[in-house]
Structure formats: C-alpha cells, structure tokens
C-alpha cells in the first residue's frame, strides 16, 4: 500500500512547516468535495455553461489522410480562455470559495493558466495575483494583457531563468507569507499533496468525455492517446480515465534544440529523481543536485520538473514518454493550420508532431491527440519560423 499522497515512491509534501496547515485544510476540502454531489453539480454546470464543455472530439480528416492513420483531436482549445487550464482553475476557485478564501494566487508560464485563474477569479469576485517570469512576459504579451483586463495583478519574476520554475518559486514564497487568507491555484499536476491528485481529478473530464465520444463515433476505444507533457496536467487529464483499458498512452516532452544540445525540457527521459516545488519526482538537475534551467520554445513546457504520477507511470511503463524538438513542433503547428484550419498551441504541437513517428511505425490506426490549447498566443514565437519569409 502506497503512503498517502504518493504514487509509488513519488509525490509527498516536501514543504516548509508553514504550509502544512494550508495543505491539510486543502486535503480535507478536496476529500470532502469528491463525495459532494452539490459541488460536483455546480462545477459541471460551470464547465458546461461557462466554459463550453463538452469540447468536441473532431475527426481531422485531411490530417488523417496525410498521415495514413485515423486521427481525432480532443478540442480543449475550444474551451473558454482557449485551453484546458480553465477546467482546473474553475474547480480550484470553487474550493477556495468553500475554504472562505477570497484571494487567489497562481504561477504561469505560457500565460494560459494565469488567464484561466484570472478568469475564474473575476467570475467569483476574487482578488487574483499571477506570478510570471520576465522572459515569459516578453514572449506572451497578449496573455499578460488579458490577465490585466480580467483584473489580475501580474507580478514579474526576475530570479533564475525568469520562466515558469521561478514564477512557481515566487508564488510559493508568497503563499508562505499569506497562507491564512489566500489559496494557491497550482496550474499542473505538480506540487505537494493534494495538488497532483486534485488537479488530475479536475482535468480527468477530458478523458472521460473522450471515452464517451469515441465510443459514439467509432464504437471502440482508440489504439493510442497522445498528449504533450510539461508539468503534465493535460496529459494526465486525458490518460487517467483510460489507465485500466488496453489503450497505448504516449506523453511527449519538449526536446527544445535537441536533447544532445543540453537545451531541452525532457524531464522524464533525461532527469533524475529529486525534489522540486514540494514533491518527489523526476527532475532536471546537475550532478550536484542543482536544478537545471530547462529550455523550450513553448513557454508551457519549459519546466524542469514533472507531475509525480507521470514519474510513476514512466517507471511502471504504463505511459511511454518520448520527445519532440522545437523545429518538429513548429512544423506540426504549421501543418495543422494549413490542413485543418486550426491554429494549435505550440505545447499541443509537440503532441501533433509525434504523429509523424506513429504514422511511420504503423502500430496504431486510431489515435486521439489532446489539442490542449489554441495557438494565437504563440504568433510571436512562430513568426520567425513560419512567416519569416513571404510564403504566400
């Protein structure tokens, strides 16, 4: 029997003593809402009427034809605010309200989780502060503006590499100092217990819907599911309901400039077990145990850690973890635009890029890709690659 808050040897609560009361309070609330029909019903109505769920499961015909395998896209990009992050933000905002906390804080990388948190805060009349690395602020300008319009305060973080890891450090430090009146909405399946389980449970709606939708469309389960993995919340959300089914699951990490260059964010394939942001999991670190600053063109995958349940799934072999470079992701981004008229997030483009490999190896004929977000936010990042010269 695994210890509470653990997935095999991964997870736990590696936090300063100050955060314990808040984590225990949150854990009690999380346990209570799981069995609370009223809570679940309220969340369901919000997801359906406010965020637009269920999101479509779309058969991408032209993409399928080009690959020679049948591909469905789970359209999380069609959610309100443009990504799966809203599923978790709405759930945690409801929990914050139940805890009597009227202030929420969040960290953000690409800005999607920050926007989702700011949105949920506005919807519930809560105060919201979002911590964001200066580098990410520069490359995700539009999302910063969106958060401000939604009434959130965006705090620039200038420590470290000035990206998601550093924003998370700063959010935790702020939480330590304001733990009594403030709830921290972690954006992924990372952090101390109960966050990895709680965020997973708020995101599993993705996989639950896929299961129903694919049965209705195809009368059978897919051969494989594919999703990108940074912290791993969209992947866990689509995978988890299929854990006991005979369905292959593939998590795609960001190889940045290529694993051999050292400039990547390939935590599961290239890291060692360690502790970051409150849980024990695979971690990109030096021989001396210092955390390595990761690199990816996509701000949402640019994280040196990964959710502890992913580490467990890696060890047990239940999920296969592979990686895709910036260039491959950008190519997949362009391809989906031109073949399907859908602009995918750069993060999700990593999952799309892996379809090329699957098409070549021919193992799977029916595949669902989690299109976790839309790519309008990535214009500045892809412009030099896709629009650098006039291709019209």
């Amino acid at each position: 029997m695994t210890k509470k808050g653990y997935f095999g040897p991964y997870g736990g609560r590696y936090v300063p003593e100050t955060l314990f009361p808040a984590l225990e309070e949150l854990d009690r609330a999380y346990e209570a809402i799981r069995a609370d029909g009223d809570f679940q019903e309220e969340l369901k109505v919000l997801l359906n009427k406010y965020s637009g769920r269920p999101t479509a499961l779309y058969h991408a015909e032209r993409l399928s034809d080009s690959l020679g395998i049948k591909v469905y896209l789970k359209r999380e990009d069609l959610n309100h605010t443009g990504a799966h992050k809203i599923n978790n933000a709405l759930g945690q905002a409801l929990i914050a309200r139940r805890l009597g906390k009227n202030r929420i804080i969040a960290e953000t990388g690409a800005g999607q989780h920050g926007v989702a948190s700011a949105t949920a805060a506005a919807r519930f009349g809560m105060e919201c502060t979002v911590f964001m690395g200066e580098v990410d602020i520069a490359r995700q300008r539009m999302n910063v503006d969106r958060m401000r319009l939604l009434g959130a305060q965006v705090v620039p973080v200038s420590s470290g590499n000035k990206t998601l890891k550093d924003a998370t450090n700063e959010a935790i430090r702020h939480w330590v100092a304001h733990v009594e009146d403030c709830h921290y909405i972690i954006g992924s399946v990372v952090g101390p217990h109960p966050y990895p389980s709680m965020v997973r449970d708020f995101q599993r709606v993705i996989g639950d819907e896929v299961k129903e939708q694919i049965m209705a469309e195809e009368g059978r389960l897919p051969d494989a599911l594919v999703a990108c993995v940074g912290g791993g919340s969209n992947a866990m959300g689509i995978f988890y309901p299929f854990v006991d089914d005979a369905v292959r699951m593939i998590g795609v990490e960001a190889a940045g400039h290529g694993i051999e260059t050292g400039e990547h964010a390939v935590t599961l394939s290239g890291g060692r077990v360690g502790v970051l942001h409150g849980s024990r999991s695979y971690l990109l670190q030096t021989d001396d145990g210092q955390v390595i600053e990761p690199y990816s063109l996509s701000a949402g995958l640019d994280y040196p850690g990964v959710g502890p349940q992913h580490s467990f799934f890696k060890d047990t072999g239940r999920v296969e973890y592979v990686s895709v470079t910036d260039d491959q992701a950008v190519a997949a981004y362009g391809k989906l635009c031109s073949l399907e008229g859908i602009i995918p997030a750069l993060e999700s483009s990593h999952a799309l890029a892996h379809l090329e490999v699957m098409a070549r190896d021919g193992r799977d004929s029916l595949v669902v890709v989690n299109l976790s977000g839309r790519g309008d936010k990535d214009m500045d990042s892809v412009r030099p690659f896709l629009l650098g010269e006039d291709k019209r």
Binding site: T18, N169, R173, E180, V291
Partner: protein, 257 residues
C-alpha cells in the same frame, strides 16, 4: 538525549552564513570572527538553486556561492575546516534536493566526519524525513525540526516527541529576512513550550540587536541570517564585510546578554 552544547545559561546567538559566499576562505574567516564575537553556534548554508523558504538576501547569497563553484562536497569540506578551528557547534542548513542527490547515507557519514553537530532541512518535514534523519542519527548528527506560528497542536505534539537538540521556531509566516514578527509571539512560544521540552531557537526576521533583545527573554537562542549576510555583503563581502558581520553578531550578543 544528546546536548549540543549551544544553550549554556546565556541566550545563544546563532548566525547563519552562506558557505562559499563569495568563497570558502572568506566563509571560514567570517565564522571565526563571529565566534570570537560571541556566537554560540554557527549555521552554514548549503546553497540551492531554488530556495523556497528564503527571501532575496539569502537567495542572492546562494546564487553567489553557486557562481563561485560551491558544491555540497565543498560545503562539507569547509565545515571540516571550521570545526577544526573553532569550538562551537556547526549546523548545516539547506534544502533536500542536493542532499538526496549526494545520497542520504553518504551525506550523513561525511557530515559526521566533518564534525558537523546538526542539520536543518526546511523543506523536509518529519513526515518525509525518516530516511535522512535516521541516517544522520546513526552517525551521531542531530536532525533539527522546525515549527511555525500557524502549526496545529497535534502536529506540534508530534514534533515535541521527535525533537532533539533544539527546535527552530520560525518567527513569522513568511520567508527569511522578511520584516515583522508574528502577532502573538508570546502565546506562540508558550504553546510550543507546552509540547516541546528541548531548547527553542527563534529565527526568520531577527533583523538586529533591538528585535533580538525583544524576543530573547522568551526563547533560548536567536538565529540571525539575512541581517548578518546583508551587513557582510554591503561592506563588499571581503575583510571589511567580515568585520561588519562579526560586529553585528557581537552587538546582538550584548543586546540579548
């Protein structure tokens, strides 16, 4: 139970410095000077890239130490040099990841060999700490537990049962070097005393002699980190910095005495 020899009648003043900031030789000199100025023990920081419980002063000190090539091995070596030169107990303080990477057993053995008396790991609460803390005990090194003002009675009682050496009382809800003490400090410390029988040291937010003097009557010792590092670093981090850091420690020793 093992007595660390830190709390001997007088109020103990325990400075914290970051090992290797800006280099090991300076750390050795700074510690020697602080001991001469009356420090009852010293805490040597083990730098980490992502120090969650630290404010800007200690974060930056850690960054300087890492930039100068400080590793956990070199911290242990520096600790050995210090224990050869001084008689006061040396306590290592730092985050769990570098220690896990080094190996818990290997760390415990090497810490013991360097003469380290105790180890504090702020992100390793007792619930997660058995592996490291047992390894340390087996080598005669004392693991120090922390408590915070918002801790519940049940948890406090558990820490009371497990505590050895002393308990590190965090003085505020926040990170190191943050201004202001917890409201209701007296009630907090009294509550800790009801559950904990070992001596109490108070730290985080002790910014100078005045505040140290105001809290000293309630506890057995005070830990001063950011203030010492700030004094040391603002004077250039060289010999003048060593003198300033030591003077601040001396002033605090006089103020609590």
């Amino acid at each position: 139970m093992k007595d660390l020899g830190i709390f001997c009648g007088k109020k103990a003043v325990i400075p914290f410095v970051m090992t290797g900031d800006p280099d090991a030789d300076t750390t050795v000199k700074l510690v020697e000077s602080m001991v001469e100025a009356g420090a009852a023990a010293v805490e040597l920081g083990m730098p980490f890239s992502d120090p969650l419980a630290d404010g800007p002063v200690i974060q930056e000190a850690g960054q300087r130490a890492l930039a100068s090539g400080t590793t956990l091995s070199s911290v242990l070596e520096t600790a050995g040099r210090i224990t050869e030169r001084t008689s006061v107990p040396v306590i290592l303080m730092g985050y769990v990841n570098p220690i896990m990477s080094y190996g818990f057993d290997r760390f415990a053995k090497d810490a013991s060999r360097s003469g380290v008396a105790a180890v504090i790991v702020p992100d390793l609460p007792f619930d997660e700490g058995d592996e490291l803390y047992d390894a340390l005990r087996a080598q005669g090194v004392t693991p120090i537990l922390m408590v915070s003002p918002n801790i519940g009675d049940e948890r406090l009682a558990e820490i009371g049962r497990r505590a050895e050496g002393f308990v590190y009382c965090v003085s505020l809800l926040g990170v190191t070097g943050q201004g202001g003490l917890h409201q209701g400090m007296k009630e907090y410390i009294e509550r800790v005393r009801r559950h904990v029988s070992v001596p109490l040291a108070l730290g985080f937010g002790i910014d100078g002699p005045e505040r140290a003097a105001s809290v000293a009557p309630m506890v057995d010792g005070v830990v001063v980190g950011s203030a010492v590092i700030k004094a040391f670093n603002e004077a250039g981090g060289g010999p003048e910095g060593v003198a300033r850091g030591a003077k601040l420690v001396g002033d605090i020793v006089s103020a609590v005495g």
